[in-house]
Amino acid sequence: MTMTEIAPAPPGTGRHSESAPAALEARDVACWFGTNNVLANVSLVMRPREVTALIGPSGCGKSTFLRTLNRMHELVPGASLAGEILLDGTDIYRGSLPTTEIRRRVGMVFQKPNPFPAMTVAENVLAGLRLSGIRTARDERRTIIERCLRRAGLWEEVKDRLGDPGRALSGGQQQRLCIARALAVEPQVLLMDEPCSALDPTSTRRVEETILELQETVTVVIVTHNMQQAQRISRNCAFFLAGANQPGRIVETGDTEKLFNDPDDPRTLDYVRGRFG
């Protein structure tokens, strides 16, 4: 297994030196909730500057896997994990990095848009900085707000509404606000758990455009149930499947193009053609 070379970040572009997109690698990961084994033998390389899509039927462990990638898995009482997750070669579970630092470097966007209700649009964007105790000057704040909202494709729509409550925006706008919020702490990886499942087609397209623009600066891993979406935005794909009372496993992984048109495993073909799941 060779790690992709990471170009060093140009000076002055980021808050921390590692703000270039990072490679993420899972090695033989298994997960449990209590004694219930939900995921086994998952090995996957998520390359920088590419979008990796995780597909598969409900309950096959895609979301669980995604949540192991930034240590959100362990927030569930009774959850446990085996295997290694390497962020640019460093094991995030056994390394010396503090959990908060890992989560700052591996951001997450959730299925349901969840802007903080007690904060305005602008405050929501800055929430990550505030929550991790990073102080910012007034001018710096304005720059961050505009840059992150632009990257999330939301600036033009909300530039006059920065003082409105975050929840005053429409659902699609809220989700892009959440993306902007995740981007403000300059993560190297962005995990997205079905980010469009609560959105209408127009908003979905805007979010997809955002993702495609983001992949240059941040590694994107996205869980999706939408086959077309996986084809539209991802370069690599991993197909998860769980048998009855069996933990979820990766059936097939590789180039999205190949996975959808000429998969090696017949189960993959059945799934992407919509014959089950």
């Binding site: 969840n114 305005t120 919020r181």
Partner: protein
């Protein structure tokens, strides 16, 4: 019931286009004929019950009479509506009537208590009740002489101190129970529940035995505040815990996923989101203690003159003022007690309004102060 535009019977389609000529249609309507049915039912059931009680059966008794009347009234409402409309409408009307009467039944005692207090107390309420104490009041003074300034000051200081002690403690405990969920959460919750069941006189006895007898302090406003805290604390804790539990878990996850620590997640996301509910928790705590007399009897000592220092010397409090004066034989003293009760109601109302203003609207609400601060920070 104001007259309501009803839908013309000959409009079969529902138009969703609101134009200049479109009139809003009240869907659930209460027409004149419904009012007639209700009034008619109540009168006829009254007549029927009278007939039953006075002429046909040997039944007697006021309570039974009104219970029978109510039952007959419901039956009449049902029957008349079946005749006029149909069975579904009749059931709907009966349910409506029952709900309205239950609502009235709940609110009537409250209105009676408040109304009676106002009626009895307003007579001797002068502005000097807020400005003077009982310094120059003798046994034969008129009811509107002197005032309750000493008691108002005492109550505000005692409840304020109790809030200063209980609100931070209660909030921290609620955070522990709801956010930290540590190992001690279960026993702690049990202790809090047990505490909220303590009779208020026991709270007073406890502080009297501990603070005054054992530790050798004199009765003071602070001792009273301690006794009130015993009652205040569990109320704030349990209500805050419930309110914090209502904050969606997704917000905590979002905050942690941004790299926030548990503590910053609590202070930066959970508490601000629950702000309105927490204000309610404080209000409930204040409401629990502000009218308490029993914990104060043994702890504050009582006074007739202003003592603005709660840490030294005896103090008075409005409930204690009322309790003491209402047992005097002189009508003037009893009158003063009622005035004190009325002022207590006013103080409670004022505190509630203040807490509501501070608590503000929902979490989405951005107050003028906050907007100004945001503008200074360059965020709006």
């Amino acid at each position: 019931m104001p007259p309501v535009e009803t839908a013309p019977a000959a409009t079969p389609t529902l138009s969703l286009v609101a134009g200049a000529g479109t009139r809003a249609v009240r869907i659930r309507r209460f027409e004149a004929r419904d009012a007639v049915l209700l009034v008619g039912s109540s009168i006829s059931s009254l007549a029927l019950t009278w007939l039953l009680y006075e002429r046909l059966t040997p039944l007697s008794g006021t309570f039974g009479f009104w219970v029978s009347w109510y039952a007959t009234f419901l039956a009449m409402v049902g029957v008349t509506n079946v005749v006029e409309y149909d069975a579904v409408r009749a059931r709907d009307r009966i349910a409506t009537v029952v709900l309205w009467s239950v609502g009235l039944g709940v609110i009537t005692p409250l209105l009676l208590v408040v109304g009676y207090t106002i009626a009895r107390g307003i007579g001797a309420l002068r502005i000097q009740f807020f400005l003077e104490d009982q310094r120059y009041v003798g046994a034969l003074s008129r009811a509107d002489e002197g005032g309750g300034r000493h008691a108002i000051i005492g109550t505000l200081q005692q409840v304020g101190l109790a809030a200063l002690i209980s609100v931070p403690l209660g909030l921290l405990t609620a955070v522990y129970l709801s956010e930290v969920r540590g190992r001690l959460a279960r026993p702690l919750r049990m202790v809090t529940d047990a505490m909220s069941a303590i009779p208020s006189i026991v709270a007073g006895l406890f502080i009297y035995a501990l603070w005054i007898l054992t530790l050798g302090n004199s009765p003071s406003g602070f001792a009273g505040a301690l006794a009130l805290s015993v009652l205040f604390l569990p109320t704030v804790t349990r209500t805050s815990e419930v309110v914090l539990g209502l904050v969606p878990g997704g917000l905590r996850e979002a905050s942690l996923a941004l790299g926030g620590t548990e503590w910053r997640t609590t202070t930066g996301v959970v508490l601000p989101t629950a702000r309105t509910g927490l204000a309610t928790a404080v209000i409930l705590g204040i409401a629990r203690v502000i009218g308490e007399t029993a914990p104060l009897i043994l702890t504050i000592g009582g006074a007739f003159v202003v003592n603005a220092n709660p840490f030294s010397g005896k103090q008075d409090a409005l409930p204690y003022f009322v309790y003491r004066l209402v047992r005097f034989p002189q009508p003037a003293q009893i009158q003063r007690a009622w005035t004190g009760a009325l002022v207590l109601l006013v103080v409670v109302l004022a505190l509630f309004v203040i807490a509501r203003v501070i608590g503000g609207g929902g979490p989405d609400h951005i107050s003028r102060f906050r907007r100004a601060r945001l503008r200074r920070k360059g965020l709006a």
